[in-house]
Subunit: 203 residues, 2 copies
Amino acid sequence: MSRHPDERLAQLTELFASLPGIGPKSAARIVTDLLVQRPDVGRALSRALADTLQSVSRCPCCNTLTTEGLCPTCADAERDKSVICVVETPADQLAIESSVAYRGSYFVLMGRVNPMNGVGPKELGVDRLIARAKVAGVREIVIATSYTAEGETTAHMLLTTLKKYVPDVRVTRLARGLPAGIEIEFTDAATISAAILDRQAKG
Amino acid sequence: MSRHPDERLAQLTELFASLPGIGPKSAARIVTDLLVQRPDVGRALSRALADTLQSVSRCPCCNTLTTEGLCPTCADAERDKSVICVVETPADQLAIESSVAYRGSYFVLMGRVNPMNGVGPKELGVDRLIARAKVAGVREIVIATSYTAEGETTAHMLLTTLKKYVPDVRVTRLARGLPAGIEIEFTDAATISAAILDRQAKG
């Protein structure tokens, strides 16, 4: 697609097109939407983005993004602080919250191990996770990284580090297996293989 | 997906999710990208959006969005001002520019006829198009609306209005027919039907 002939509009479109998941055509539609149909939303977005960039920081307890010092999840007294679930991103944490199957606390790595980009245990704040795990009363750490190559590498790094520094804390990993609502016929071989290896005794 | 527990981050995510083509998961990824990986891009986007909203207006000649008074296309002395191509949106104009087959001027409706939403000739600035068509030297108006229901309605409205007020100006419509690079086998019946009706004598 040609570049917008108006320089400012072209720059604004390119900024939107640089965001993850947005191509040049979507970016052009977004710019028209915000400038013509909904300028009030455009102003609100500009303001919310500037304000949040100014006030955002990392939660001192779980490392997630927060604009309120201690994040609402860590500040929640109802949460079971004896279990820490380690996730890669805030989005992963939200997905686990949606399941309503977990009421413990979290630690958000804000990334995964990636030696090519210089992301290792230090960048992921693993020393702070260990410090928290050493607090009396922590009895389990659930590793909830994805079953992808990078997620597995991250899980392996966490497992060896935790076993070394907090050997008394139980370390678990989210179960692998068949996803809900998908027929076995259409499930990939790696998932079926994992479901067979980790099969559960019943009855 | 659960709502982000931090109120400001939840609001910022919802603003991004309200943009065309962005769902809640993409919005969450964009927010993390702008707050963690690329805060400089976040600041640039907030500033560019605010500045553009402040300075944007409609080109007095072709009705498109511009931040510079007369838009660069209308200000271009090399353009053939005797032909006016009428398009629905700036994105349509960019697509036509990409084809490099047209060197005339434009009129951008910034929408299409939609009686349900109260969008008619007045909202699309058709009176200004007629005023421009009446200028000595304008010999052709190319209607380049899409071959969709709304685009066809808009084309019909333009055709009858132009025939009434500027009967001496030639009015044309972009050719219908087979798209380039697509096999006939996979082309829809309406397009094939149009290609047969509008077939061209050769040789």
